[in-house]
């Protein structure tokens, strides 16, 4: 079994390159391991804050990686695992913030900016531009001098 696993690892160099976790922490079933990684990549490491738990070397991230794998091995769905961790750590642990009252402004900001810009454009296009005063005789003369276009 161990030899088989080793052979599988050799056959999939991409898997090795991605793995931050120790090999013994990984699930034997490649499909389950892939699913655990998929879940883990969406979860923030609370210690490093800008890494997912799959990328982080922090102890805390390893604990969460193990927890995710434990639940995946038990047959929990991706949603169930994420919900379990979300219930304990709140929105912040999700790298993709969910849409709720606390994140309303976050998700709505682009729309607000667009709306504000639209209002400004609408207001500006409604007020007529101040009529430009016609050139005086002296100005007309100067312009003609500059352009070298005598036609007075």
């Amino acid at each position: 079994m161990r030899a088989l696993l080793f052979a599988a690892l050799l056959l999939f160099p991409a898997l090795q390159a991605q793995a931050i976790g120790k090999p013994e922490d990984m699930l034997a079933d490649p499909a389950a391991e892939a699913r655990a990684r998929e879940i883990g990549r969406e979860l923030r490491c609370m210690v490093c804050q800008n890494q997912s738990i799959e990328e982080s070397e922090a102890d805390m991230a390893r604990d969460l990686r193990l927890l995710v794998r434990e639940q995946v091995a038990r047959g929990a769905s991706n949603h169930q695992v994420t919900a379990y961790i979300h219930a304990r750590y709140g929105d912040f642990i999700l790298l993709r913030p969910p849409f709720n009252t606390a994140t309303l402004l976050l998700w709505g900001a682009p729309l607000l900016v667009l709306l504000g810009g639209g209002i400004v454009v609408a207001l500006r296009s409604r007020t007529p531009r101040a009529a430009t005063a016609p050139l005086t005789e002296a100005e007309r003369q100067r312009l003609a001098d500059i352009t070298g276009d005598r036609q007075a």
């Binding site: 609370m46 210690v47 804050q49 102890d59 805390m60 604990d63 969460l64 927890l67 979300h86 219930a87 304990r88 750590y89 709140g90 929105d91 912040f92 101040a130 005086t136 002296a138 100005e139």
Partner: protein
């Protein structure tokens, strides 16, 4: 010859001249507020609100630390209490835990029950820490695997939770309990939920 006078700036747009100054002033006020918050400890840029505030303490049972001679800790101990308690996650290897230790001692001297959860620690080290510095805990559970800490949403020691008499978590602070935090947050909570 009369020089052409540039048309006056319309009154409506004149306030725009002050806009850069206004933006800079607002930025300055914001930055000052942030620095004030940082130095007083009320603003923590890495702070994350706990998802458990307002909820029942999670279900758990932790074994005691034998050498300390204290009872262990379980969810059942956090229900129907005569007074609110503090639950403190700590470890002997954690430096901020040393800093907050005098504050925990003071709380325990004042008769506030402080329950400890020893996080990922060697029993001998944890017992040595308490023997050397004093023991503020009325109960002490040992969470060697750190799994109960995850159930509480702990992301680093020390973390302190305020649990009301009914077992509802009312407040959580990640980081060392300072004398200021004790005065400004914990004491008012104790009065409010007494």
């Amino acid at each position: 010859m009369s020089e052409a006078v540039p048309p006056p700036i319309p009154r409506r747009r004149r306030w725009l001249l002050w806009a850069p100054l206004g933006v800079a002033a607002a930025g300055g006020v914001g930055f000052y507020a942030m620095l004030r918050g940082l130095s007083s400890g009320s603003y923590d840029p890495r702070g994350v609100p706990s998802a458990l505030v307002g909820h029942q303490a999670p279900a758990f049972t932790l074994p005691p630390l034998e050498a300390a001679g204290l009872p262990g800790l379980a969810q059942a101990d956090l229900i129907d209490m005569p007074r609110p308690v503090l639950v403190n996650f700590w470890a002997s290897w954690c430096v901020p835990c040393v800093i907050e230790h005098p504050q925990l001692m003071r709380l325990s001297r004042d008769g506030v029950p402080v329950y400890g959860i020893n996080y990922k620690d060697k029993p001998a080290d944890a017992a040595g820490f308490l023997a050397q510095r004093g023991n503020p805990f009325a109960r002490l559970g040992r969470d060697q695997p750190g799994r109960v800490a995850i159930d509480w949403g702990v992301y680093g020691v020390p973390e302190t939770y305020f649990v009301d008499r009914g077992g509802i978590i009312r407040w959580r602070f990640p980081g060392a309990v300072t004398p200021e935090l004790l005065r400004d947050d914990i004491q008012p909570l104790l009065r409010r939920y007494a």
